[in-house]
């Protein structure tokens, strides 16, 4: 290799560091653009009526997003109810049995599940539920979201439970407590904060999902609490209104985006603080 003068090498070093720092900051710029843009356009839309009224037909001023907020909550509730029990059990399974061919394949399938594009999950929920039931429904949307939550919850439960020291369970077993009781009453509560964090993160992740809901929850302009009927959700509403040609609907979409982003980022920040303070540690 040809020797370069030291001065040039030092210059290159400084230059490189400068470029790295510059590009790293360029990386976080979009985040601020998006936040600023949404806040700028969204905040002015938000008022009490916006949060408590139903959307109005095209041409009328005003209207709110109550149906979408309610629909989002219903879908999250359905998805959480479906995914948490089996997710936590599968998490215990993976933390308890670390070796073996079956465990390897189970772990692999969870990783694959995590990578499935959300639109494909939507197709599955459509084929499994919408076709059988015969109509779009909140239930089918909830099933789709549950499938997306499962891998996150399982991974969180597994990682947390692995951190619980063996001495804890050995103490419980030595006192004559049965194995299932030890797992459910001693080990699981010890890792509760980690599991709850995983559940919250998965909720934050699916709350903004649109693709799997396009042909499952479908959307509806009415207030609906029946889980066998279509419901509207915030992301669906944003998508439909943003791609519509009406400025009034765009305004509603900005407001809905603001509500959604506050919810999603709020849950994310909350879980971060929670994990820092109540970390599972021994």
């Amino acid at each position: 290799m040809r020797e370069l003068p030291v001065r040039r090498r030092i210059l290159a070093d400084h230059l490189f560091k400068g470029i790295i720092v510059l590009l790293s900051f360029a990386c976080i710029l979009p985040m601020f653009f998006i936040l600023f843009f949404i806040a700028n356009k969204g905040v002015s839309v938000i008022n009490w009526e916006f949060l408590t009224q139903l959307p109005k037909p095209v041409g009328e001023v005003g209207g709110g997003i109550l149906n979408a907020i309610l629909g989002t909550l219903i879908l999250i509730a359905v998805a959480t109810l479906l995914s948490v029990p089996i997710g936590v059990l599968a998490g215990i399974f993976l933390s308890e049995y670390k070796k073996g061919r079956l465990v390897y394949f189970v772990r692999l399938s969870i990783e694959i599940l995590q990578g499935i594009p959300s639109i494909v999950i939507g197709i599955i929920a459509y084929v499994w539920i919408v076709v059988r039931v015969g109509s779009f429904s909140a239930l089918s949307g909830g099933v789709a979201l549950a499938m997306m939550m499962l891998p996150i919850i399982i991974t969180a439960a597994e990682e947390t439970l692995k951190l619980i020291p063996d001495s804890l369970r050995e103490a419980s077993l030595a006192l004559g407590v049965s194995y299932p009781r030890t797992m459910l009453r001693v080990v699981l509560p010890a890792g509760l904060s980690g599991i709850l964090t995983g559940i919250l993160l998965s909720v934050a992740r699916v709350a903004g999902e649109t693709a799997p809901l396009l042909f499952t929850a479908f959307g509806s302009p009415f207030l609906n609490v029946n889980i066998l009927k279509p419901v509207n959700t915030l992301p669906l509403m944003i998508f439909n209104y943003a791609t519509s040609p009406y400025p009034e609907w765009h305004r509603l979409a900005w407001g809905a985006s603001f509500v959604l982003i506050v919810f999603v980022l709020g849950v994310n920040l909350f879980t971060k603080l929670v994990t820092r303070r109540w970390k599972v540690q021994f």
Partner: protein, 331 residues
Amino acid sequence: MLEQDTKDISIELEYPMGMLKDSGTADFLTKVHARVKARWKSGFSESSFRKVLYAAGICMLVLLVAIFLSLVIAAFPAIRRFGLGFFSGTTWDPVKGEFGALPFAVGTLIVSFLALIISVFLSIPTSIFLGEYFKTGALSTFIKSVIELLAGIPSVIYGFCGLFLLVPAVRALEVELNVPPYGVGIFTSALVLSVMIIPYSAAIGREVIGLVPSDLKEAALSLGATRFEVIRKVILPYARSGIFAGILLSLGRALGETMAVTMVIGNSNILPMSIFSPGNSLASAIANEFTEATGHLYLASLIELGLVLFIVTTVINVLGKVIVRQMGVGG
């Protein structure tokens, strides 16, 4: 123990069985109830608890297989009708019943790889920044958190902002360049997508760069290498396969991303001729047409697009995860 429990409980039991008093049903019910209650009280036995755990684990395996099989079955009419010609057909015409996926496949590939190239220029410097220059400290924590939040923003919001911020900008650029000023199109979606996938490759890149043994770096530094030379000659070669895996995983994300792409790609079923022309990706075609699909074959063809997406992303993800695991990083 169990027997004991059962007896105790059946004595305690008080059934409202006035109307059932003389029949054998009451007896039977009492027994069943007692058993269930005893079972509940003593908890599951160890073996049945283990069975439940195994069932939950196997459920995931079954779920995956069921997803794959359902896709294949639902797409079967299209698979039988078009065979491999599905991937080379350039016309997608629901009216005539002709379905060729080439425009979507090409659209997906161009958008994803363009996005990948753009995002690599941002994510690798960020990995170096976080993994080498500023490993700890307030600045590092700040940038790390912002990038993590970037992954948390819903894709529909990326699409919305892209539609109102980026599309006018790209349209102005297209006027400058003298190409048809659609605004929406492949280039715009690639830009939006490139921002969305930064967090995935940056996170893994940071970890593998942080894992480079310090004695290697110190050896190079003690020989008089500058930091830049250490990064170029020691760190990057050492972390190469891990960085590659991160890029692969973000490619998996990019291929399957639906909403943001759907909103800014322009939805044209014609084979894209330049990076500024509108197009469609596999995912955006499904999102746009699925609810309007009339007819068995149309729906099956759309589901076959989903099947292709599923297989491709699965292969890429598994490959990425295998490499990451070999590097010894928690992906």
